[in-house]
């Protein structure tokens, strides 16, 4: 018993020294259970978000209004699915399989980003998602490029490059619509009104109310606070909105000279918690769809496995 304790203590000491030196933690390194669990939770939530996010965007593929727009949207959604695959693989380095991760999503143990529980109701929503949702994700992910777990940090570096494309393409849709007919302008503002607040909520609760923050900071998984990142996002987005004539739906939004950032109005945290806890507009729809498709595809996965096994057997018999 005593001996185990010493071994554990030694391990923890080594780990923390590494973290403090700023070294990356790699899959083969010893790490505390809490660190591993925190990462699995965060990375799988991230992976699931990329995948579930394909649903609201996919909702407009067949109705994309030009061949160019359709290609950009198809390519974007593929990128997101690719991010999902990439993050699932990164999470697997922590000793959990993709099918376990998907199972956790289906049982509700694992979450995905709350933002995808909102519906895409007009074409400008595709612009708003790219510009605001990917825009908010980038702020978060840029900060995660220096996260302490090596595979996660490398995944973020790769993913960030693509996300900034998405953000620009989304903004382009909004700009085009704001330069268009009155109806297009109304669609764009309508999308702005519906996506602005949920985008701010993507950064999570205010710093004082964030339950997992302590360890994540100590282990350098997280390097900036929720509010810090939220302000960064607001500051870069306000001017972009002004340039194309969109109004930010927050009458309390004001430049704060002393703090050097924008102050925003009160976020509706009741809506936030209600949605996280399952009662957003699309929670049931998104999850039910993922489960249904996964179950319907079982025969394909079984066939692929059976075929692989047959071929393997044939090799050994010859």
């Amino acid at each position: 018993m005593e001996k185990t304790d010493t071994v554990l203590e030694e391990m923890l000491k080594n780990f923390e020294e590494k973290i403090n030196r700023g070294d990356a933690i790699e899959p083969k390194d010893k790490m505390p259970d809490g660190y591993r669990k925190h990462l699995i939770r965060q990375m799988s939530q991230h992976a699931h978000s990329e995948v579930i996010g394909m649903q609201p965007e996919g909702n407009w593929i067949t109705r994309a209004p030009s061949l160019r727009a359709k290609q950009i949207l198809l390519a974007k959604i593929q990128d997101e699915g690719g991010h999902g695959l990439y993050l699932y693989s990164a999470a697997e380095t922590l000793g959990i399989s993709r099918s376990e991760l998907i199972n956790q999503l289906h049982t509700g143990k694992a979450k995905y980003s709350n933002i995808f529980n909102y519906p895409t109701l007009n074409w400008a929503d595709i612009g708003a998602i790219g510009w605001l949702v990917d825009g908010a994700a980038i702020v978060n992910q840029v900060s995660l490029q220096r996260t302490s777990y090596g595979p996660y940090s490398r995944a973020m570096v790769r993913i960030c490059k693509e996300e900034s494309f998405h953000q620009r393409q989304g903004y382009e849709i909004m700009a085009k619509m704001m330069a268009g007919t009155k109806e297009q302008q109304e669609m764009a503002q309508d999308a702005m009104n519906r996506w602005w607040w949920p985008s701010l909520m993507m950064f999570g609760p205010h710093d004082g109310d964030s339950p997992h923050t302590g360890d994540a900071f100590k282990w350098k998984i997280k390097r900036h606070s929720n509010d810090e990142l939220r302000h960064k996002f607001i500051d870069k987005t306000v001017q972009q909105a002004e340039v194309i004539g969109l109004t930010i739906p927050d009458k309390d939004l004001k430049w704060n000279e002393a703090k050097g950032h924008y102050d925003h109005g009160a976020i509706n945290w009741d809506e936030f918690y209600r949605t996280i806890n399952g009662n957003g507009p699309c929670n049931r729809q998104r999850l039910a769809h993922h489960i249904k498709v996964h179950n319907e595809g079982a025969w394909v996965r079984e066939a692929a496995e059976a075929y692989r096994a047959k071929k393997e057997k044939a090799i050994f018999n010859n």
Binding site: M54, G58, L67, Q78
Partner: protein, 250 residues
Amino acid sequence: MTQQQALYKYCLRLGDNALVQSYRLSEWCSNGPILEEDLALTNFALDMTGRAQALLTYAGKIDGNNKTDDDLAYRRGEREFYNILMHELPYGDFANTIARLFYSATFEYLFFSGLMNSTDETLAAIAAKSIKEVKYHMAHATDWVLRLGDGTEESHRRMQNGISENWMFTGEMFEMDEVETLLAGVSVVVSEIKAKWLSQVSKVMAEATLTLPTDTYMQTGGRNGIHTEYLGHILSEMQYLQRAYPTATW
């Protein structure tokens, strides 16, 4: 029919094949049996949308009425679409989609290999780009035909269904009319690639333990604008924004 009209229609037929096929494949987004297949099928859809764009842009130039690729994709009605019927059928289960992709990609591989030698430089260039994509579509579809055909009992049954149900829509790929005749040297003589297509398809079927259908009745009509009931629904969805807001640009 003039040479110019023939070329216009030839490009529309090829462009519409790519456009409508891409529409159905893109419906697999968030619906694939595994994430990798969502990505593969929508990636093929992306290739085909690009091909449709190139062909419809070219058609617009030939026509001489200043029509853009989008005008042709989003402002024509059902009777002015000339894709083959197979591409507009609902996508069905995964095996059905694979069967169709297998038939058409095997055909397109032979077709674009031929079109690369077209005396029309634009078509030859489009073919040269397409052949790289189509080679991959064919390899992917073939791979799944083998896995599903020789996988489990259920996958075999479904794959055989897909192969059988789509069979009567394959004849249209090899049809030729006045358009092709007028475009000698420009167009591909599809009747000449039929034997190669059949031999490749049969070879894969045999390896996949599947049976090649023997019925000889073939559906026809799409190439002349007589479609199934499904195309109208595709167009009403695809063209919705352009039709509802005709003065808007997107």
